[in-house]
């Protein structure tokens, strides 16, 4: 790890929920935002790797239909993904691969490339996103 590279920062957290629309409505009601802030990302939908239903993104949440993403070996866990913004996506991806991780998806979400991995590193579903901004 280069000492010059900024520490990755959590960009958003993907969560598997049973009723995506209801939870999204509650988040909007409690934490605010308008439709433009909370509209589904353009990378969602059937074309998005491994997901049949369009995810909802807003206020740091990414909501995924439970049937799309809930881990078979962790049926009680809502955690579907931890999306970290990294300054050098290719270098970080190389380190993940060297650590034994496997790429699950490589896609563009909300205008930035994201590489999604399995749980090989620390048992966590890590996704790396190009960029340094948390938001």
């Amino acid at each position: 790890m280069s000492t010059a590279a900024p520490e990755p920062r959590l960009h958003r957290i993907a969560l598997a929920v049973d009723d995506l629309a209801d939870v999204a409505a509650e988040i909007t009601a409690a934490f605010g935002g308008d439709e433009s802030d909370t509209a589904p990302d353009t990378g969602g939908g059937p074309g998005r790797a491994g997901r049949a239903e369009t995810p909802w993104i807003g206020a740091g949440y990414e909501l995924i239909a439970a049937g799309d993403q809930r881990s078979e070996d962790r049926p009680d866990s809502p955690l579907a993904g931890l999306v970290f913004a990294v300054a050098d996506l290719d270098a970080a991806t190389a380190r993940m691969l060297a650590a034994g991780a496997t790429v699950v998806a490589d896609e563009v979400i909300d205008g930035a490339r994201e590489v999604r991995f399995d749980r090989a590193v620390a048992g966590l579903p890590i996704t790396l996103r190009a960029g340094t901004s948390a938001n």
Partner: protein, 156 residues
Amino acid sequence: MTTARLDRIAVVVDDLDTATAQLSEVLGLQFVVLEVDAMGLRVAIGESGLELVEKTRDEVDIERVWRGEVASLEVRVDDIDAAVAAMNRIGYEVDHSLVTPGGVQKVQMGHAMGGLPTLLYHVPAGASYVEAVTGRSADQERYEAYTPTFDSPAAS
């Protein structure tokens, strides 16, 4: 309307030292390990937004709000009272709250938002998260005997 954003997550792991070492090696994440004896936990916190939690006893009281491996989903707000009021309006009550040694108030709303363990917190502008939580310099690598102050008997 308060400004709020899901900004941090605490994930339960079986071996905190191994997990922090791996995340440091692979992603460069930096952690400070807190020994939270009052809660039966070791907790690794940092500025990345990812926190790791390891139990130091077989059973701990706070487990009742965990959901699988997710200990808490922490929503950073600019006005904690307004945020709690907003949660109350949509039907969720405070489960318990605590004050960290550095004076950060954390309010656990229990299983809110589709059963997700939702926690509200506020950090004063200009303070790093680690310093705001612990009240001590972030340069110190390891803290011991971290003891939050509970203001609700529900979590004692």
